[in-house]
C-alpha cells in the first residue's frame, strides 16, 4: 500500500483529506507543521506528501527545501495544497521541488486528478 503524509495545521483539512486519500488507497500519516513532517520523513520516506504552505513552526516551502536536500529526500512526490494562488508563489514551489499544486478549496476529484498528473495514478 502506498503511503501519504498529510501536512496541514488544520485538523479539519487533515480529516477531509484523509478520507479522500484513504478512498484512493493510501495509508496515511499526519503532521501539523513542517518540522513534525521532517521527523516523519527521516523515520520513513512516504510515497507522496500533501503539503500546506502556511503553518506554524516551519512552513511548507521551508519544509520542502529542507526535505529535498536530505538523503533520499528527492523520492517523495510533493503536492502542495494551499490557499496561496499567486503565480509567483506557485513558481517558487515548483522551483523548490514541488511535483504538483492544488489551490484550496479542493475536493476529491481535484485531489485524484492532481495525483494522477503527479504520476501517482
Amino acid at each position: 500500500m502506498k503511503t501519504c503524509l498529510l501536512v496541514d495545521d488544520s485538523r479539519v483539512i487533515r480529516k477531509v483529506a484523509r478520507r479522500i486519500l484513504e478512498d484512493l488507497g493510501y495509508e496515511i500519516a499526519e503532521a501539523s507543521d513542517g518540522l513534525e513532517a521532517l521527523a516523519w520523513c527521516r523515520a520513513a520516506m512516504p510515497d507522496v506528501i500533501l503539503l500546506d504552505w502556511n503553518m506554524p513552526v516551519m512552513n511548507g516551502l521551508d519544509f520542502l527545501r529542507t526535505l529535498r536536500a536530505e538523503p533520499g529526500g528527492d523520492g517523495p512526490k510533493v503536492v502542495f495544497c494551499t490557499v496561496e494562488s499567486h503565480p509567483d508563489r506557485i513558481r517558487e514551489a515548483l522551483a523548490a521541488g514541488a511535483t504538483e499544486y492544488i489551490m484550496k478549496p479542493f475536493d476529491g476529484d481535484i485531489i485524484a486528478a492532481k495525483f494522477e498528473m503527479a504520476g501517482l495514478a
Partner: protein, 275 residues
Amino acid sequence: MTPEDIQLVVALCKARAGLKVDPAKTYLMESRLAPLARREGYNSIEDLIAGLKQRREEPLIWALVEAMTLNETAFFRDRAAFDQLRDEILPTLTRMRGPEPIRIWSAACATGQEAYSVAMIAEDAQGLEPGARIDIYGSDIAERCLEKAQSGLYTQFEVQRGLPIRQLVRHFDKIEDNWQLSPRIRQRVRWRRINLAADLSAVGRFDVILCRHVLTALDDGIRRRILESLAAALPADGFLMLDAEVSPQDLTDAFRPVSGRMGLFARNPSFRVAA
C-alpha cells in the same frame, strides 16, 4: 412541468440538435431550464414554455435547446488521448504534411477546454518542429459556451481539473479569482457555431477531428449521419478521435479503428464519400 411541456422540450431538442432527452428525467430538465427562465425574465419554467408556445421565437427555442446540451468538459480530459495526439499523431502528420498546415477540429468543444488543450500541445510542439503550422478550430452548438471559450477565462475549479500546474503557470494569467489563457494560446483557436445535427458538407477538411463526449447524447440516426459527415471531412490519412463509449463500427462502415489505439479511428478505404 406538465407532460405536454416535457414532450415539447423533448421534441424540440430532438428536432433541432438530434439531442436525446429522457422525458422521465424531469429534475434534469428543471435544473437546466430554471436558470434559462430567470435569465429570460420569466417567473417559472411553465411561464417560459407558455411564452415559447405563444411566440415561437427562434432565439428562445435555441436558448432552450442549448440549455439542455451537456457542457461537461475539462482540460486534457482522458489524458491518454492527448498524449497520443502529442507523441504520435502530430509528429506523423508533421512529417507527412511538411510546410502545409495541419488542421485540427474540436467538434462540440463546449466551453473550449478541449480546443485549448490542443492549442497548448501545438504551442509546445512548435519548439520541437519549428516549421510546422497547426490550425485549430473549436465549435459548439451553444453560443453561451462559445462566448466563454472565446474569453479564455476559467475558474480556479475549472483549471484544476486536468490541467498540470506547469501548464497553468506557463499559459495562464491570474485575473482576480479566475485564470485567463494567454493571448498567444487564445489566438491559436478559431471559433464557430456548428450544429453537428445540421448539414456539415461545407464544414471544410481537417486532418484530425476530436468528437468526444457528445455522440452518446444524440439520437442513433443522427449519430450515424454525423460520423459519415466527419468521414467526408477527413482525408484518407486523417484521424478521428472519439471517447471510449462510442464504437462507430456499430453504426456505419465509414471508419476503422486504428490498431492498438483506444478511441482513434481512420476513414475506412472502402467508404465512399457521397458526392
